[in-house]
Symmetry: C2
Subunit: 213 residues, 2 copies
DNA sequence: CATCCGGGTTAATGGGCGTTAACCTCATTG
DNA sequence: CAATGAGGTTAACGCCCATTAACCCGGATG
């Protein structure tokens, strides 16, 4: 108990989660065995079951965790966002970029292994994701009022793809360093959003909320 | 646009590949069993081994195939590209969008399951991918001559992420239809590339020539 | 000192799954 | 008609792997 070592205890659990995230991202959920995860933290195999109910539980905690943190961060930035919507959008973008650059494995898992979750958890994660997206959509539409909601939503999804592209990058120093990368991504995202406006091509009757009518 | 399903013999092999692609994309390479793939084409389990050496062979053929087609398509468009680099870039973008929209499963596999390949195949695929990227980088730098090569390359990767975001889209009709989606993605990509350039303070979005025409 | 118990360990269990074996059946061919 | 081979089928085999069992140990507790 004494152990007031410092801020983050790095409580075994967290250590395990971190390694599991890395491994899952590298080789896929099914691709990595319990023994490997154990080995990554110095214990072996079934020892993990003292901390988690099973392999699935780890994945669930990772995915729910990241979704919650993303949404919480987004809400915070919207709340304390300066007067202008532009400032809020900038903050959202920067926040997401930090995430993408610092927590690569999690970002990867986020949209790769969602289906491996039990129904309940999956629903939870999807709901959090949806709220996060809608949060962006609102801000984007405030900055660029023109496009229909579905258009804005599609743009947000696309920009997420852009920002999350970091993990797929080529190996060595063929790419900019972290700070330049962050700046570049920010610029690209803004550029994309700025282009969504454009003229609505011969009428916007697509706006009907009922598709396929 | 085209898509007349008939002529192609759909030679069992292709049929299998198609279903395998879909399943792999949905549940991951390790997540789907041979029996499922077989069932998807009406035969059962080991019957597949009359057509492929093994599960791995299917994945390999899929990944190599898509990489080759992407590169070939890209080269073609560059070759017959009209005078202006802008036109070539437009063509590249449209080509990639068609791919992303029509062959979702393959696009997904493309950057998800690369590591499950045997060393040789993986090297092959990576080489093809690299060439495809460099092809884009050249064109982009010709259209936007300011940024360093590494910057341009990062931008290209990011735009790939943007264009490939389609598979992650929400289910129902909450999003635009195919044609509008294609137009939107094109616009977003151009917007992103347009922003990669200099350090002009945030101002008018660089509304280049309207792609719609 | 005796007792817990958190956190590990190695061995066993059991199911899933890729692959191979052995066998079957038409269509074609000579 | 016999032979053949492409394309299937169902059983087995074996391996991998998540999970459980059974056991162990060191330190806090009282």
């Amino acid at each position: 108990m004494s152990n007031a070592q410092s801020a983050a205890p790095t409580s075994r659990r967290e250590q395990i989660l971190k390694e599991a995230a890395r491994l899952f991202a590298e080789r896929g959920f099914h691709g990595v065995g319990v023994d490997e995860i154990g080995a990554a933290v110095g214990i072996s195999g079934p020892g993990l079951y003292r901390h988690f109910a099973g392999k699935d539980a780890m994945l669930a905690e990772l995915l729910v965790g990241i979704s919650e943190r993303l949404l919480a961060g987004g809400r915070m930035r919207v709340a304390e966002g300066g007067g202008s919507p532009e400032a809020v959008l900038d903050a959202l973008i920067d926040g997401h970029i930090d995430f993408a650059l610092d927590d690569r494995p999690l970002i990867t898992l986020h949209d790769r292994e969602l289906d491996r979750l039990r129904e309940a958890d999956r629903k939870r994660v999807r709901q959090l994701q949806r709220q996060y997206v809608e949060l962006w959509v609102d801000v984007v539409r405030r900055v660029h009022p023109g496009p229909s909601e579905s258009r804005a939503r599609a743009a947000v999804h696309a920009v997420f793809g852009l920002l999350n592209s970091t993990p797929h990058l080529g190996r060595p120093g063929a790419l900019p360093g972290r700070t330049e990368m962050a700046e570049l991504l920010h610029r690209l995202a803004l550029g994309a959003f700025g282009a969504v406006a454009g003229e609505p091509e011969a009428g916007e009757p697509v706006a009907a909320s009922v598709p396929g009518a």
